[in-house]
Symmetry: C2
Subunit: 474 residues, 2 copies
């Protein structure tokens, strides 16, 4: 596409830098002139870009100059009607989508295993979530697939729903026929909102799965930093809909994002769009051959794990190792000991993410994996719950209104059964709730949390091994 | 203070970088290995720090490692009981303070000219704001001073208030006896919340005014990037109170901030605290002499402006020029034409901010100002409203509940009188509302907005010269 070879925001910042302007404004580091020596070398080149809303640099919250131009190039590349730069992560995109679609007491249909920001949005809105559960897939040994039938059933039970919000792909890069679901949702006259945090690169075309916008989603949120090369905490929000007003989305974005947005972060979004738009067939072939090398190197290196096969529904940038003995947590630890950090570990799996270009030496990888294999041989095995299926209800709801008005208290696990959780329990990553705020706590939940914590899963809850916050008097 | 000479988070990131780890995780730029050539040189050194929550790098939303250590050093330096790193600006700190203190229908006393994030927080909470107006000060020609008596009066009229939220200092660095107000508020048994966005450096001691924490504030939000050297969009939130629970603040901060917080931003907070803690008397003397040079250079350069004098209530890092003819907007334009960007212009004033160390050559400044003086001589004068006093009611309230449930429409200014504003009108900077969402629109408001827009003030509203969004049926 014409123009896509420019990065207007990044280039405006570079032009300003070359003019050596005199700063009588914030930030206090004055283009890096005032900064501790300790960090000066590392930060210098970015501080020169760390500007504020002075003349010529536009305003994220009311764009009409270089930021608008950069956003319009993103719009053209992604094929939306309007695209926004987000500098508070996909978190803020999810919050804004929820708040734009539902107010107090409204119903919204969401995936049981959505990201916590979706639940937070529902709590802020004072809305009523209806949870739909993904299907357990034998093929992947995970809950990864939302069926159109499940959505039909939820819409039949809750015809008052103001929207449907799904995660696509899941954390492991798995997709499903979202276009069928879009049709069902649109038949009801409501918008389909998609948390596509892990799918920004789907717009590069085959062999990546279909992007959510193309499948018919109305609003899509994508982390640019996760799979494309932008700085952490940057995302896109795309709209292509007549069902939600742009002014409503803009309103919540300006409300929930800093009034001093970071220019380096915004510039990195501009550069990430530029990077994707300049992607060639040659880049693709080189990447696919690299992925194949990484996969076969892992497969050859040890009998302790199996590299899970890819289907047309899977993102090839995600490599999933299924452990053949011990737990995924053990394997992750062994990898970390060799200075290789995986994306995520579960009882059964270790997830690795690959970038959009080769970024490591495969021969070195081979050597490191030999060490990992040795380490695992000498390691005591931890208890595992491999392949266990948790029976989530297919469709259920929770009253989340007035959570912030209720008193809560901390109780030890032995006193928690039958109480209502006042904090969600979310292993992180992937940030998906085992137990949601507002859910009754069962013995089953407690066993599950106990087992995961014992295996080494990480939680954001304080004192998770000992107990939990519950609402008083329930 | 011992330990303050370390920057544990920054140093942990540097150690990780030196180990050249293999990244099988997000972000997609893989420590900078995958990045467009266009921006690679500029971003490289910071991308190596742009990590994620891998082992050893802690988790902002559940800190127990290097982030907690860095936050504890901030706590010790600022003298709080708990300090938080914010990576979504003071915006998120203000939102969290409001949400932590008031729920739906609750009353909160706030300054009429608070930052828009405070109004946004009240709207999100569904709370009822009671506005107190600052006094117009002849000395400064601005609304800059909140009187303890005004707070006493508001608390008498609204004894059900859950808290008082004030801005301290104002945008121009002006302070007032906050300790007297803290006493009045605490007598009522409620917390004093302070938006100290422009006062992080007050902790360096004389000649800076008293910091809000020392004056007795319960929760304080400070932009670290505005007056101290950290990256834009970073702030601190400090708590020193028994009136608000830490878990409540933590809850809203994790809700409203990215679940993928930026490590370079967090590291720059660590470095900013380090910088402040290493500040010496020699640094202070050098700074004060630099400020004096800048002030006298401005004063000597032209008769078109007067450098306003400093009192003990003023932050010496703010230099205020009062225009003797024309408007502040004209002067700002002339400065910008010479590549000097001021912080803010109003009808009467131009505000300049100085960093914590000399960052420009005063002789060069002298030459540039000669040009500015020439430019202004040849410039046609615009209409001005200098020194005009807007009669804000001393204490008044607004029902902000259910704003998000109401329909709105756009109307031209000639049809706007008597309608209720559905969008605030906020010249930016300083981000303080002339007209608030929910206020009745008077002829006076329209004239004021028209005049400011005509003089060149910037607004975030779309089509502000033509009209405004109002609520339907009111």
């Amino acid at each position: 596409m014409k123009n896509q070879q420019y990065a207007p925001l990044y280039e405006a910042l570079m032009r300003r830098k070359q003019q050596s302007p005199v700063s009588f404004h914030v930030p206090g580091h004055k283009d890096g002139h005032v900064f501790p020596r300790k960090g000066a070398d590392t930060f210098r080149s970015v501080l020169e870009l760390d500007a504020t809303e002075i003349t010529g640099l536009d305003d994220l919250h009311s764009p009409e100059g270089v930021i608008q131009e950069a956003q319009n190039l993103a719009r053209d590349f992604f094929g939306s009607e309007r695209s926004y730069f987000l500098i508070n992560g996909s978190t803020v995109g999810n919050l804004a989508m929820v708040l734009a679609v539902c107010g107090r007491g409204d119903t919204i249909i969401v995936q049981r295993n959505c990201h916590k920001s979706v639940l937070n949005g529902i709590e802020l809105a004072g809305a009523k979530p209806v949870f739909v559960a993904p299907q357990f897939e034998k093929e992947t040994n995970r809950y990864s697939r939302i069926e159109a039938d499940t959505i039909v059933e939820a819409l039949r039970q809750y015809p008052e729903a103001k929207g449907v919000l799904l995660t696509y792909p899941d954390y492991f890069g798995r997709t499903y026929p979202l276009d069928e679901i879009a049709e069902v949702v649109h038949d009801q006259g409501i918008p389909l909102l998609v948390d596509e945090a892990h799918g920004v690169h789907f717009h590069l075309g085959k062999p990546f799965p279909m992007p959510a916008l193309e499948a018919g989603a109305d609003i899509v949120v994508q982390s640019a930093h996760k799979m494309a090369p932008s700085m952490t905490m940057t995302s896109f929000l795309h709209m292509k809909t007549s069902l939600v007003e742009e002014t409503t989305i803009s309103h919540y974005l300006q409300m929930l994002q800093s009034s001093s947005p970071s220019y380096p972060l915004m510039a990195s979004l501009d550069l990430a769009r530029y990077y994707l738009s300049q992607w060639t067939e040659e880049d693709r072939d080189q990447l696919l051959s690299f992925i194949e090398d990484v996969r076969s190197t892992f497969q050859r290196a040890s009998s302790k794990w199996t590299v899970m096969p890819l289907s047309q529904w899977d993102d090839p940038l995600k490599v999933i190792l299924e452990v053949n003995e011990g737990t995924g947590f053990d394997l992750a630890e062994a990898l970390e000991a060799e200075n290789m950090n995986p994306e995520l570990a579960t009882s059964d799996h270790v997830l690795l993410t690959i970038g959009l270009a080769p970024s490591l030496d495969v021969r070195m990888l081979e050597e490191l994996l030999r060490e990992v294999d040795c380490q695992l041989k000498n390691k005591p095995k931890r208890a595992t719950m491999r392949g266990e299926q948790r029976p989530f209800p297919k469709v259920h709801t929770l009253a989340m209104e007035d959570f912030n008005q209720k008193q809560s208290e901390w109780v030890a696990w032995e006193k928690a059964t039958g109480r209502v959780a006042a904090e969600p329990v979310i292993p992180y990553p992937p940030g998906i709730a085992l137990l949601m705020k507002g859910e009754w706590i069962s013995r089953d939940h407690i066993d599950w949390i106990d087992s995961l914590a014992g295996q080494g899963a990480r939680f954001q809850n304080r004192k998770i091994k000992e107990g939990i916050r519950v609402f008083k008097g329930e």
